[in-house]
Amino acid sequence: MKKFLDDADTAVADALAGLAFARPDLKVDQELRIVTRAGAVRPGKVGLVSGGGSGHEPLHSGYVGTGMLDAACAGEIFSSPTPDRILAATKAVSAGAGVVHIVKNYTGDNLNFDMAAELARDEGLEVEKVLVDDDVAVRDSTWTAGRRGTGATVIVEKAAGARAEEGGDLKAVADIGRRVNAASRSFAVALGACTTPAAGRPGFELAEDEIEIGVGIHGEPGRARGPMRPARALVADMLDAVLEELPASDDPVIALVSGLGATPLLELYVVYRHVAEELDRRGVRIARNLVGNYVTSLDMAGASITLCRADAELLRLWDAPVDTPALRWG
């Protein structure tokens, strides 16, 4: 394994130190691994906290800033942050109007965020949880822990962040987050596995011509292995999977094509070309798009596609100004 690291054990801390140097508009608590905006939360604004295992950068620290998150908790690589830290972040961004936790649906994240919420409530804070579970690779059934949370997290954080910024109350902000999640579905394909610094070797082995279909962002195996095929065919299959579970509606979609870490932008634009053409063929209009590395999986080669049905209100929230390391406009 070759990585720009000093030590597997300090990877997250060292990266956060780099972020602190790079972004004076953020405050990084090295001890607790919490990234917040440099300024205090405006009194009366709902606080937004997200977090999870590290290794998905820019998720979540790259989405802290005006119009999006107030705090991100960085766990160890691929491991949820612990409740004490989530509690500390929750208290840090509480400005009297309650705090929303945006949690990707994994057992570890659920348990740790729920414990933190419980502790926060014990201290008199109001906490609402928005669970993100958009990954259709996993069947949502009593046989599983439910769909995983992946690309939709970015859209949930953006829309809920905008709603909070414009003065929405706790329920309104959480509702928008839940609505985005309900309207979003994702699917990912890996061409090669990622290597966690602790393991030192790839999480799985693919043959020269093999891909992992429906891979998770921690390298969780997907629905199946299959042969590599041209981008157009892969994208058509990915869209089949997404559209099958995407709520039917006349609303257009926000389309997100995210690299998983080791896939060049050139390829992501080829993917987006086919997303645009396929959706056009199927009568789905794309209202907004993002193409780049937004929810990654260390150095995994691959890409995910997320679609979110967006009505006028959602588009308004999407277009609202945002100023974070990874998203900036308006």
């Binding site: 612990t82 740790n112 966690t196 393991a199 799985f204 390298g219």
Partner: protein, 202 residues
């Protein structure tokens, strides 16, 4: 505790490898991190002469705030609940058995898993059962039986299809792999048994 920490440290790679097969490959690292923190806490608590119940409560809290992932809250909650059920400076086999049962119940409540879901519960539950069946024996004997039952439960996870945690995403493909959490549970019961068994003359 020191024995458990050592057992985890010695098997870190094995636990992570099991987790890599059906999860995200960090179970070993998660627990190593947690038990390193626990070792520090425990030393302090022992020095302070803390009683077994509060000791376990503290140690559980340390696990919760250092492991992360699914295993941290689950093991931490189990230890905290077990500790709360233990009172006094010493404890007989029945009392320890009851405490373990309380820990198991809390773990199941938190995680929502039952025996057969291919989780740590599959090792934990039979271990507690065996321990309580030996309530009239000494602690070391009960612990040895528990360890054996945990190991049997651990091995029995291999043919199961996972219904909880990350491994459940694999569906059918989780079959044929031993659950990492059940494995770490068995390791810990084995460590407990060995630390209670008088070591043969050196």
């Amino acid at each position: 505790m020191r024995a458990a920490a050592a057992a985890i440290a010695a098997h870190e790679a094995e636990l992570s490898a099991l987790d890599a097969a059906i999860g995200d490959g960090d179970h070993g690292a998660n627990l190593r991190r947690g038990f390193s923190a626990v070792a520090v806490t425990a030393e302090q608590l022992v020095a302070d002469g803390v009683q077994p119940g509060p000791f376990l409560v503290e140690v559980g809290g340390t696990l919760i705030s250092s492991v992360g992932g699914a295993a941290g809250p689950l093991y931490g909650t189990a230890l905290r609940s077990a500790g709360k059920a233990l009172s006094g400076p010493a404890a007989d086999t029945a009392a320890v058995g009851a405490a373990l049962r309380a820990g198991l119940d809390a773990l199941c409540r938190l995680g929502g898993a039952q025996v057969g879901d291919k989780t740590m519960v599959d090792a934990f539950a039979p271990a507690v059962g065996a321990f309580q069946s030996a309530a009239d024996q000494d602690l070391a004997t009960a612990a040895l039986r528990a360890a054996a039952a945990a190991e049997e439960g651990m091995r029995a996870t291999t043919p199961l299809r996972a219904r909880k945690g990350r491994a459940s995403y694999l569906g059918e493909r989780s079959i044929g792999h031993q659950d990492p959490g059940a494995t770490s549970t068995a390791l810990m019961f084995r460590a407990l048994a060995e630390s209670l068994t008088p070591s043969p003359a050196e």
